[in-house]
Symmetry: C2
Subunit: 412 residues, 2 copies
């Protein structure tokens, strides 16, 4: 894509009311725009990254046997009354229409997926079953102030698994933990992301969170000094000692919850009468699990985990483009033609390129923009590069001169 055509320009300053680093950098670089606290528009660069995150997650969910659906945000009050969450969930947005009928605006989808599957699951032959969606959620946050980390509206992947028994569910739960680990590895935050013991709320004894350690984290996790297990704040306050090894000294760290997985006990299955006939003809309750990842939050967590004083540093897997090709302004028409040729050659090779073809903008500003946007490779064509290209990785200082062929080979 030609940068001259991109309708959003970078900004020198972030909005004054925006404290979070992820939002400040993403807004300055033109990835997102703030409509109000906790509610953002994804702009072309940001949407490219968001779609890449979406596709990575979708691929892994499909590999895990998930069947994709798309459930509504607008949900009937009755389903929420049935689970007791119409009154108990503080952050539920409620809507009343002109006839007085009330709806919930879904922050999660147990109230939709359980009734749906009640019409589908009858026998042990129908199990196990895995259903997921990637869909917009709403949550009433009165004070949203962490950029993409805590939104009033946010894209989420929610996955639900249905099993004949606890053993099968527990095995799948452990499997899904590995799938999650793999996703965070692909996004370059695997090393910093801890599989963290968390309380199960009213649903089960324990659940697990995936917590990415960064200074921007709103959560605190506690790494056991003996067995290195990560434990969340709630559990520590209750237990005082490590549930795994009994140790009572911990190293606290600030972290962002990028995913969570839950064993649901029989809570929702009982609410909606989700039962099946076992091999011996006995009626039993379906055993379930649920598995969430917030896509925008994940994008924010990657930014918080990977930036420097100049801007963001994207991993190749979710960078909006692979190469930022910069043509420095010149009176030598041959260099302009050469840069255009490189742009076309890269695109033909299937490389995603943002091409800074803007006229009348100095080298300093172009380099500053490239550092801010944070595309993995910077490639410069100028009067000084002759028939070569000066390339450099975003996270390295050293540049080198290569031919077009060498560059394309490097990228493959």
């Amino acid at each position: 894509m030609k940068q001259s055509k991109l309708f959003i320009k970078t900004k020198r300053e972030a909005p004054k009311d925006e404290e979070a680093i992820n939002a400040r950098l993403l807004i300055r670089a033109g990835f997102i725009d703030k409509l109000m606290a906790g509610v953002y528009t994804f702009l072309p660069l940001g949407l490219r990254t968001l779609k890449k995150i979406e596709n990575i997650i979708r691929e892994e969910m499909n590999k895990a046997g998930g069947q994709e659906v798309l459930m509504p945000g607008l949900q009937p009050k009755e389903n929420w009354v049935k689970t007791g969450r119409w009154d108990s969930m503080d952050d539920l947005y409620k809507i009343k229409d002109a006839s007085g009928r009330e709806f919930a605006l879904g922050p999660t989808h147990e109230e939709v997926v359980f009734p749906l599957l009640k019409n589908v699951i009858f026998s042990y032959k129908d199990l196990p079953l895995y259903v997921y969606q990637i869909q917009n959620k709403f949550r009433m946050e009165l004070r949203a102030k962490s950029g993409l980390l805590r939104g009033r509206e946010f894209l989420m992947k929610d996955f639900y698994s249905f099993h004949t028994d606890e053993k099968d569910r527990d095995d799948y739960y452990d499997f899904m933990a590995k799938v999650y680990k793999n996703i965070f590895d692909i996004l370059g935050i695997g090393d910093k992301t801890h599989y963290t013991l968390a309380s199960g709320g009213t649903f089960s004894k324990y659940s697990h969170e995936f917590q990415t350690v960064t200074d921007a984290g709103e959560d605190t996790i506690h790494i056991c000094c003996k067995c290195e297990m990560a434990i969340n704040d709630d559990i520590i306050k209750e237990n005082k000692s490590c549930p795994k090894c009994g140790e009572s000294s911990f190293s606290p760290k600030k972290a962002i919850e990028v995913g969570n997985i839950f064993k649901l006990k029989e809570k929702f299955a009982d609410d909606f009468g989700l039962k099946f006939k076992d091999k011996d003809g006995m009626e039993k309750t379906v055993i379930t699990g649920c598995y969430g990842i917030g896509l925008g939050r994940l994008m924010g967590a990657v930014v918080e985990s990977s930036y420097d004083e100049k801007g963001m540093i994207w991993p190749e897997s979710i960078a909006p483009f692979q190469v930022h090709l910069i043509r420095l302004t010149t009176n030598d028409k041959r260099q302009t033609i050469f840069a255009d040729k490189i742009y076309n050659a890269l695109q033909k090779s299937g490389v995603e390129v943002l091409y800074d073809d803007r006229e009348d903008i100095g080298a300093g500003e172009k380099f500053a923009d490239a550092d801010l946007i944070g595309i993995p490779w910077r490639a410069v064509v100028s009067e000084r590069t002759g028939n070569k290209i000066e390339i450099k990785k975003r996270n390295e200082k050293k540049t080198r001169l290569v031919s077009e062929k060498e560059f394309i080979k490097t990228l493959k």
Copy 2:
């Protein structure tokens, strides 16, 4: 995909409270599930078709120069007060949070895109500019009863164009009408879809609707008996005669509005102060247009336009799969192995196949399911087909026996 794994089964009967043919067929075939009136879950087959519609539209919008963004559903009340639509729009869902702050749940996005572009458009050099999204909308319908044709929640493509002058906008408007025509051609409803003169509401003198003629239509359009121009009900009630040729006899037809395009006059640009500096340094108001297509409604309109007594008949462009491969139950293991081989060969050739590998289900039920689901090609492997495949198009009666190679060649 193996049909035995598909978690949704077809139904013999549609829900009793569902009158619309599109909803009855889509529910019976397992494409959608009704959560409540006007609110549906897209199930795996339905989501595949929806995503295909989405990708066709996205490709055409990108070709038309559109830059894709993703705007929020939750919108600040202040923006809606500024345009006067907080009070004037009857079907706007309003939300109040626990602090008393009010929000709109977006049925359209002028209130977001105009303020966004005010920070981007300064000079004639920034124009023209085209921005679009494919995003979930909400509209307060008290009596939703037409399946996907009129939803409380629905996926929509909304496109906004920004210009220096009316001539440029009008040229683009005419160009977009052709882009729309092309989309409806790709979806197989081009012949039945009329470019229809409509009133411009408070925004402009005229707008245009794309109206697909079917008995299920909630609108009535009037085809001029002389010049064949299509005119919507509002205009006819006002004018009594054809605005183009003056003729006053019309042929009325029921139709579904699958798209609409608007010239916006200066309404929203004035509300949000969207101005630019012209070449001569003069400050002028940006001239705009907007262009919508409802994706779910389009899917419903295709169903209403293409079905028979047995079920739906999808065009190849948006069918959930290209081929419905049916293996009839047999004691001859060689036929089972042969059918599996065909399935793998088709997939390797890049053909999307739904493989009815279900055991213990008779030929009659499998054929009925295939007709109901409406995939363009039916391919049967049974004891009688030997080392050939019996193929048939959904909209044809004649079957023929072909080899694996011939079949793959036919599909390309």
